[in-house]
Amino acid sequence: MDATPTATLPPAKGQPRAVTRPGDRIFFGLTRGSGILLLLVMAAIAAFLTFRTFSAVSQDHGNFLTTFEWNADATPPVFGIAVLAYGTIVSSIIAMVIAVPVAIGIALFISHYAPRRLAGALAYVVDLLAAVPSIVYGLWGALYLVPRMQGLTAWLNEYLGWTVVFKQSNPGTAARSLFTVGILLAIMILPIITNVSREVFRQVPKAHEEAALALGATRWEVVRTAVLPFARSGIISASMLGLGRALGETMAVATVLSSSPVLTAHILDPAGGTFAQNIASHFGEATNFGRDALIASGLVLFVITLLVNGAARLIIARRKEYSGANA
């Protein structure tokens, strides 16, 4: 202990002690406390989910991973996440495919193309889009979007039906499908991806843009050589934030999707389900055991989100030395 003198002892000769100030110590304590608190909360959530999951899954008479239907309160209980995992992933992929390019476009327009006043107005509108509650999106989706998707659905079925993906099993049914859900989710995650990307685009150093300009780059070439590469990791982060929201979105999906325990490649069919939607639909009338089963499905969603985030971090880290962070 003599190597680290305590506060009451004078420092040993030849070992000048760093001066500690109360403000520093309080701040250090606060930040460390916050860090530890976060870990504790995460550990508590994980422990809770894992415990309840085990008690439910151990009594599942179906295979938890491959069973289609969700009858947790039947005797014997038979439930599985196959349809839910598929529906969650498919609807999120559709949402990402639509939302990411559009969001990047809007963000670039706001940060690099639009005149200043228009850019401000547009940014405000996008923020407004983020402020709409998800149940309102759900109601709008069910009452407005679904009837108007009928035409597009029929068109896709007729001309792209040969791709299997866009084939409708029963043409003319209401468009309460994963495809419609995906479009609705795209609109919902658009603001967060746009806002984060816009901030990243704004942070591109002027020096990099001028370097491209001085080489005789056009505006689009400046964006391509200086802005987009610099913003790459930021765009990925923004997309992951959006994907996180799409994966976990509950009310909007529950309101629009006509759920059924069917796993089909025809994304225009009113069938399927998602984790969050399934929990919302069943939680109200579920018994204690049924709730544990739902929590088990929640754990799977948690793991999927974790994997997605991990993958995103890997992508960002792989080209770290090119990130521009050291420039």
């Binding site: 150093p205 370097a211 491209a212 080489l215 005789g216 056009t218 050589t225 200086a226 610099f230 090119y322």
Partner: protein, 258 residues
Amino acid sequence: MAKRIDVSGLTAYYGNHKAIDDISMTVEPRSVTAFIGPSGCGKSTFLRTLNRMHEVTPGGRVEGKVMLDDENLYGAGVDPVAVRRTVGMVFQRPNPFPTMSIYDNVAAGLRLNGTKKKRDLDAVVEKSLRGANLWNEVKDRLNKPGAGLSGGQQQRLCIARAIAVEPQVLLMDEPCSALDPISTLAIEDLIGELKEQFTIVIVTHNMQQAARVSDRTAFFNLAHVGESGRLIEIDDTERIFSNPSVQATEDYISGRFG
């Protein structure tokens, strides 16, 4: 590959503020011209009007004529993008593209111009890096990021990037102000070699540097803060530093300024 610059009656604005007022000068091909003067006197602004970079700044506006041999850079129908391909620029802080390798940095301008063939690119990249006295230091790590080089190497990389597109004129905006003396010396030697091919204009705060590298020196000044910068005089460097014709120049050079 080098052209004469002939500027007449050039005035540049930032919004309503007139940054430089009525500047006329001639820059001979294959020579180095240094711009000196106190901060805020408009040297950099003037430099940026020579490749139409000034108008990139919001509110930036230019009046007057810049002739590059027979072509007015501010003539009707002249594409600023094309101008910048003819008049290259090196900036105050080294600014290699951080997401690109050393090779890609040098090739960036060529790729913008549409050169895609690996063999052509290889040849130009090597030639440009040799031209910037950087080849021997980086030839074994062309695929490493450009941002990993030292400051002086990065600046030479930026020079290589600028000369890769074979411009007529090379503008340098305080290219050594962020560098240590040894890197500065390397760049100054390089400027001496580059002037055999290019018309070079360099802005510098370092008067010894102006005296060492340039053939002609232009002194800029402004009467008061907030007023427009003006060209006080331009003459052979030797004459500016020994026997300038304007008293203000002598005051500035000898440190008796203000």
